[in-house]
């Protein structure tokens, strides 16, 4: 059942992501890709790979420390890990600059010590920003891996008097071999299509990405086939990464547990210190730029222009439609994948590598002969945002869907538990935690996403991100900062509510 529905959704997803590319490719134009584009591809892959490695390398010790330590503010920190990922890019970048920029805290400190200032701009800055944006997401995904280790296995480890090193070898490392490739892949794909971060912090045309080449092809050269070819290059790269990741993924195979409660063993000594250091460093690294965003926005927060409120409402509406759409489709795909449909993996990850601009342009060409684009701005925004957010939801759901199927797939089948009853009695209760996380994440992404709305925008009905970009274009930087803070609060609110629903009664 799930497999048939999965195939159906996958087909729709492929049509929605590749269809527009095909339409764009079919337009008249020169096409062709030059050496500069290959250089752009090289840089794109380099920065994405470095960002993915750095993000996950930082996330592993943090996730482990959070998994095995209990301290005041732990829950808050885990929830707050959602925040950086949800910041609109320009807001996040300005927050980072307030700390690491020319006039930022770090350089102020260096000057005070009589040291030479450091520049954030360049490959290092791009990676730093990507770590800031994605390391928390990676941490949350890894944390789920730690929490999915059944208590029975923890007890077994304790009874065999495992040292922390043994525990790493027999329990944590196999878990990571199962979870880590997917996390790496997700961060890699996000960074692959990252546009503004790379451009703003890259420092110049040496940091040209494929997505920028697509911009140029569409906006200045109006060479649509070239844009589509570039978009396909991006998709191809991501496809390669999906193949690599699935090659390196080995299922943990921990077996099922009885939902007994057990804490991970929390070793003492230097390990305790190391965990404290990991948590402290990460908290500082993440909190400072967010603090800067809050400080920039606060002065104008109680004096917001009125256009902000309808914008907020539109954005919340988009989120309310997008999140359930994306998460339910992702759930079907993840369950079908867990039942063995391997090919779904590539399709589910496809939108992550898709170029928003090409997708929007293709949809525009598709819709334009039939209806005035502004008339369908909202539905198109919802569908596109849902498609774009789906891979995140899928990645979050997949590991636990696989565990669910391995542990209870046969039992459910033998009892003829399927369809809506299975959803209600088995899937919702057992996947509640990842479902809440996925709903929160996609909902918040939808609140903060500028997406394709720019191509379809009407005079009225602007989303909050669009209002913010209009404020900035009209010199109202302070109002834009305040509206951004509002956006962050709204996005985080959506995330917090869903995440909390998912973790209700849960140990975490």
């Amino acid at each position: 059942m799930a497999r048939r529905a999965g195939a159906l959704i996958a087909a729709g997803l492929a049509a929605l992501t590749l269809g527009p590319v095909a339409i764009v490719l079919a337009q008249a134009g020169r096409g062709g890709v030059g050496t500069a584009d290959l250089a752009a591809l090289r840089f794109t892959v380099t920065q994405a790979a470095l960002s993915a490695l750095a993000s996950t390398a930082c996330a592993v010790p943090l996730a482990r420390a959070l998994a095995r330590r209990r301290f005041a503010g732990r829950r808050l920190m885990i929830t707050a890990l959602g925040a950086p990922f949800l910041l609109p890019v320009i807001v996040a970048v300005l927050g980072l600059l307030a700390i690491f920029g020319r006039a930022g805290l770090v350089n102020d400190g260096l000057r005070l010590l009589g040291l030479a200032p450091v520049s954030i701009f360049g490959l290092g800055g791009v990676v730093l920003a990507h770590v800031f944006l994605n390391m928390p997401l990676a941490t949350r995904m890894l944390l789920q891996g730690w929490q999915a280790i059944p208590a029975e296995r923890l007890r077994l480890a304790a009874s065999l008097d495992f040292t922390p090193t043994d525990f790493w070898h027999h329990i944590e490392a196999p878990m990571l071999r199962d979870v880590l490739p997917g996390v790496l892949l997700a961060v890699f794909a996000i960074c692959l299509t990252s546009f503004a971060v790379v451009l703003i912090l890259g420092g110049g045309p040496a940091a040209t990405t494929v997505e920028l080449a697509i911009y140029q092809a569409i906006r200045f050269e109006f060479d649509l086939p070239r844009a589509a070819t570039l978009a396909l290059m991006q998709v191809g790269t991501c496809g390669l990464a999906v193949a690599l990741a699935s090659f390196f993924t080995t299922p943990g195979g921990f077996g099922a547990g009885l939902d007994r409660q057990a804490d991970l063993h929390a070793p003492t000594g230097w390990r305790r210190l190391a965990d404290a250091l990991a948590i402290g460093t990460a908290a500082t690294f993440l909190a400072l730029p967010i603090g800067a965003v809050v400080l920039r926005g606060l002065p104008g927060l109680f004096n917001l222009p009125s256009a902000v409120w309808p914008g907020l409402l539109t954005s919340l509406l988009v989120a309310a439609c997008t999140a359930p759409l994306a998460v339910s489709a992702a759930l079907v795909l993840a369950l079908a994948r867990a039942q063995g449909a391997r090919w779904l993996e590539a399709v589910a990850m496809l939108p992550m590598a898709g170029s928003q601009l090409v997708l929007g342009t293709g949809l525009f060409l598709l819709v334009f002969p039939l209806v005035a684009p502004p008339d369908v701005a909202l539905p198109v925004t919802i569908v596109v945002t849902a498609v774009m957010a789906l891979p995140f939801a899928y990645r979050i759901l997949l590991p636990e869907a696989r565990v669910l199927m391995a542990d209870y797939g046969r039992l459910a089948a033998s009892l003829d538990l399927q369809g809506r009853a299975a959803l209600r009695l088995l899937i919702l209760p057992r996947l509640r935690r990842p479902l809440g996380f996925a709903l929160g994440l996609t909902g918040a992404l939808a609140v903060g996403d500028l997406g394709v709305i720019a191509l379809f925008a009407a005079e009225q009905g602007a989303t909050l991100p669009l209002v913010i970009s209009r404020l900035m274009a009209a010199y109202r930087m302070e109002a834009a900062a305040a509206a951004s803070l509002l956006l962050v609060i709204a996005a985080f609110g959506v995330f917090w509510m869903c995440d909390r629903w998912g973790r209700k009664d849960a140990e975490l």
Binding site: A413, S414, L415, D416, L425
Partner: protein, 227 residues
């Protein structure tokens, strides 16, 4: 009547053939060396493993293509027979209606009572002992009331006395149903079954009367039983 018609099952290098029948109400043990395919045979009947060739029929109707939940049988696995997030009563209710919308609670209570778990319906499985968990799973099979009961060593983890108790309970509850029970313990087979299927060397042999089989064991069974 359960019939295997020229059935072969293949999984990679492994293959298993069966060509025999078993009448309703029978008590059949499935015995053989570890890895010979005892569980595979049961899983094929239950619909978790596809057949390479041949047919499995119940009362003349082929089971091929029927999803596991629609087959005229209940199965108890080695473990994971209960959903840990549902109460014991809910786990039993699944046997009456997988949507739990139209569950006759009185019937669930009666089933709990018959397996000696009265009053424990509101507990989660984690709060039950191993024997109690097995009883709960049996009670659900009772509620499902299918004409076949497949036991894939569900009591392997229980002590001898408890296991004997469970087998007696199965005998009592199964009534007219055909029971196929995988076991690695010859005593279980002798205590419980009238007939025994020996699975060895890629063949699931026809059910032979248990007493006669153990009185005059074929070479494969001799090897398994040891000197």
């Amino acid at each position: 009547m359960l019939s295997f018609e020229n059935v072969t099952i293949r999984q990679g290098d492994f293959s298993l053939a069966a060509n025999w029948q078993a009448a309703a109400g029978g008590r059949i043990a499935v015995i053989g060396p570890s890895g010979a395919g005892k569980s595979t045979l049961l899983n094929a009947v239950a619909g978790f493993i596809p057949l390479k060739s041949g047919h499995i029929r119940w009362d003349g109707q082929p089971l091929d293509g029927l999803p596991p939940g629609k087959r005229p049988l209940s199965i108890l696995f080695q473990d994971q027979n209960l959903f840990p997030h549902l109460t014991v009563a809910q786990n039993l209710g699944l046997g009456l209606d997988p949507s739990l919308r139209h569950v006759n609670t009185a019937a669930v209570d009666r089933a709990l009572e018959r397996v000696g778990l009265e009053g424990l319906g509101n507990r989660r499985p984690a709060a039950l002992s191993g024997g109690q968990q097995s009883r709960a799973a049996l009670a659900r099979a009772l509620l499902r009331a299918r004409p076949m009961l497949l036991l894939d060593e569900p009591f392997a983890a229980l002590g001898p006395a408890l296991k004997a108790e469970m087998l007696a309970l199965v005998e009592e509850l199964a009534g007219p149903a055909l029971v196929l029970m995988v076991t690695h313990d010859p005593e279980d087979a002798q205590r419980f079954s009238t007939h025994t299927v020996l699975v060895a060397d890629g063949i699931a042999a026809s059910p032979a009367p248990t007493d006669a089989l153990f009185a005059n064991p074929p070479p494969a069974l001799v090897n398994y039983l040891g000197a």
